[in-house]
Amino acid sequence: MSLWQKLACVILTLVLCGSVAANWLAPAGYAKQYREATDAPPSRAHWLGTDEMGRDRFARVLYGTRISLLLAPAAALLSTLMAALIGGLAGYWGGIWARMAMAVTDLFLSLPWLFLLITARALMPLNVSPLVSVMVTFMLLGLLGWTTAARVLCTTAASLLGSDFVRQARAAGLPGQRLFWIHVVPNLKPVLYAQFWISIPVFILSEANLGILGLGVAEPMPSWGSLLKELEGLVSIGEEPWKFVPLILLVVVVTSFQVLLSKQEEMAA
């Protein structure tokens, strides 16, 4: 593990610990409104100031990080499993199954997923708690985000079947199911891990995009997306630099994931 990868590990651990310990670290709940101190600059009482409704920004960053950082991997896991199921099996079975699976994948890839998400969100029942809303948002992201990974896995599985060691195992009379579990799945694992790690920052950014459109996590629950909405209309960086903390955190976390990902890619190679 290189120095950068160690540093990325430390950063991610710190951010994760900080968000998990939000209940103890945050000076107030994420929804508590200090209406007499709206849009306040950083102070001893509010380390990162307050937002437009007087809510402590530091508390919201901590809780928002917890939500984005815990649910994004969950969505990534869901999408990777779906990709493994659809792409992996299609690649293994080949023929018409592969063509059908790839046709479905292409169809999904060609869909304007942002509009699909907006539509899906609009069709959902209205009276859901913010927690359910955030889980549904990430579940939708997971259910729609498997396509690229499925293509990669299909191609990898197909190339594995053409490899010498699989041919030799077939020639030796290994039955299909055992061949799949003994030779194909273990060799797909590094690709699956890589796809999983790739998906996490993608989903974090997707939720942030949905949040900016007002379609992500419901109020008053914070997420990185809703925190980034504060930057709308900000014309100068120097004006209120503390408002950039969620953005900096997002960049740092996504970069850390990417640094770790390079390690996974090395392993996969």
């Binding site: 907006i118 609009a122 209205l126 708690s129």
Partner: protein
């Protein structure tokens, strides 16, 4: 001493002559400057104008162009809210409110040189009322079935008779730009202060001074002072603000409170807060009997006591202060106090007290259990408020209301939806519980809101298209609205509409939250600007504005 006196006299004479010469020079320069023109005024339209036909106007951009180019018979003075002569020097509405007769100015020419006469007014009215044209402006005049009759008495006299009474008939002509019946240029031949000289779709509209404009100022100088107006089409408000700051624009007609504060921080002399406008923001509950929401929730929402308690639990002062940075006024009722004539001045501020709201709910049978309010059947009081995504002010109001209602044990889920989905739920499926939206009022007269207050109307949002009024108070509102619409006596109409306002405040079908202030920005180079609350806030007196050379 004498010498001194003579010297003093000489000096006085010399000074007097110098002052007189200076005054003459100044007068000459001013006169020359005005004769030369008042420069070019530049500002932004937020959308592409959909039409240049003044009779088909339904969007803000087209309305702005109609205001600047169209000549009207009578004009509502945006500052005094009174009616003033335009192309008509006098007018008279018949006692039954069906007929209006105008005496017109003589010697007026359209921008293309064709003369203006009563024939043009007749032509315009016939076009306006043509059902095939679907004129949104004409809709306001449609009070009954039948044809509109125009009787041209002489080139300067005309009488127009409608099939049924039209309330506030004379004021409606403020929106009717007169077309030329003879000109081949049709809507491009105008009687207003400016004409459309150039249009680059997606980029800009250039208006030039109408050389034939009939109006003069108090000194007899021809209006308008401005040579031209350049309207850049710019939907992005950040870019608009940036361009204004750079001096590339001379005014911003309507500012958000956030942008207003940003600009005020650096250039307080350029921003104008004209006070509460006619626009309101309100919350309402779904009271539609056939809506797919649980019956117990319908019972809450249809209870006036429940609605009043919710209203009392909302801190409107905080909505104004926190969400709009003080650039909004807590709403009193359906009409803003800015509407000088029609506002019911007996109405006082809406009370705010969480304790009183909770007590009122407890009197209704609700009870508090472990911080959660439950109705008499044990159902937790939980409902959702929807609003359109992207409107941060409404989203913020919803969050503040969510917090206010939490204090009395009511749990609110805030949901933002894209606008088409929201409209579908609101008007088609009725699958919602509460909504925050706003009303944009351009018309001072309550007749402009007939489609909101009549229970049979599609826009009677809390329970639209009722075959017969479902409540006694809605029946009373229907009666009063029809009574005021069928009377030509302003006093009687005012009495009827005052009572409507009182009923609405008592029953709270709409929980009126705030009236936004009319905020604008005007460059120091613009002379003569006096922003007002009525649209168009900053350029209502465009013919008298000048722009100093930069």
């Amino acid at each position: 001493m004498r010498r001194h006196k003579r010297g003093f006299e000489q000096m006085t004479n010399t000074c007097g002559k110098a002052i007189a010469v200076a005054m003459l020079c100044l007068g000459f320069l001013l006169g020359h400057a005005l004769a030369q023109g008042g420069g070019e005024l530049r500002f932004c339209l937020r959308t592409e104008p959909k039409t240049f036909d003044p009779l088909k106007v339904e969007d803000d951009a087209s309305a702005a162009i109609r205001y600047l180019t169209g000549g009207v018979l009578v004009r509502v003075n945006r500052q005094t809210q009174g009616l003033e002569p335009g192309l008509a020097v006098s007018w008279k509405v018949s006692k039954d409110g069906r007929q209006i007769s105008f005496r017109l100015r003589s010697g007026v020419l359209f921008s293309d040189g064709t003369p203006f006469s009563a024939e043009d007014v007749a032509y315009t009215v016939q076009q306006l009322m043509d059902p095939a044209l679907h004129s949104p402006t004409g809709d306001a005049f449609r009070s009954g079935v039948g044809n509109v009759e125009t009787n041209v008495i002489s080139p300067t006299q005309i009488a127009i008779t409608f099939p049924a009474q039209v309330a506030g008939l004379d004021r409606l002509f403020d929106q009717v730009a007169i077309l030329s019946g003879r000109s081949s240029k049709k809507e491009m031949a105008v009687l207003g202060p400016f004409t459309v000289a150039d249009y680059k779709p997606g980029a800009s509209v250039l208006l030039k001074r109408n050389p034939n404009y009939w109006k003069t100022d108090e000194q007899g100088r021809k209006l308008p002072y401005l040579d031209s107006i350049r309207l850049d089409i710019q939907p992005n408000r950040d870019v608009e603000l940036l361009r204004f700051k750079r001096g590339e624009l001379d005014l911003i007609n309507s500012l958000d409170s956030e942008y207003f504060d940003k600009l005020a921080a650096t250039s307080p002399q350029l921003v104008h807060d004209a006070g509460a406008s006619l626009d309101s923001e309100q919350l309402w509950f779904n009271e539609v009997a056939k809506s797919p929401i649980p019956a117990y929730k319908k019972n809450w929402f249809r209870s006036a006591n429940f609605r009043r308690a919710i209203s009392e639990a909302i801190n409107r002062d905080d909505l104004s202060r926190v969400v709009f940075h003080g650039h909004a006024q807590p709403a009193v009722g359906p009409f803003s106090p800015a509407n000088k004539f029609w506002f019911n001045s007996k109405l006082g501020p809406q009370p705010y007290s969480s304790d009183a709201a909770l007590k009122a709910l407890q009197d209704e049978g609700f009870r508090m259990e472990n911080g959660t309010l439950k109705d008499k059947d044990g159902n937790e009081v939980v409902f959702s408020i929807i609003t359109n995504s992207g409107n941060k002010y409404r989203e913020r109001m919803a969050v503040l209301i969510q917090d206010d209602l939490q204090k009395i044990g009511i749990h609110v889920n805030v949901v933002t939806l894209d606008f088409p989905s929201l409209i579908e739920r609101m008007t088609q499926t009725f699958d919602y519980e509460a909504i925050i939206l706003g009303l944009t009022n351009v018309d001072l007269d309550p007749n402009g809101e007939m489609n909101v207050w009549l229970s049979s109307s599609e826009n009677h949002q809390w329970n639209p298209q009722q075959k017969a009024p479902e409540t006694a108070w809605e029946a009373e509102i229907d009666r009063l609205m029809r009574a005021q619409a069928s009377s030509s006596d302003p006093k009687k109409r005012k009495e009827a509409f005052d009572r409507v306002q009182e009923i609405v405040v008592e029953q709270e079908p709409f929980i009126f939250l705030i009236n936004k202030n009319a905020l604008s920005a005007v460059s120091a180079a613009v002379r003569g600007a006096a922003p007002v609350i009525l649209s168009p806030q900053t350029f209502w007196n465009a013919e008298r504005l000048t722009v100093a050379a930069k």
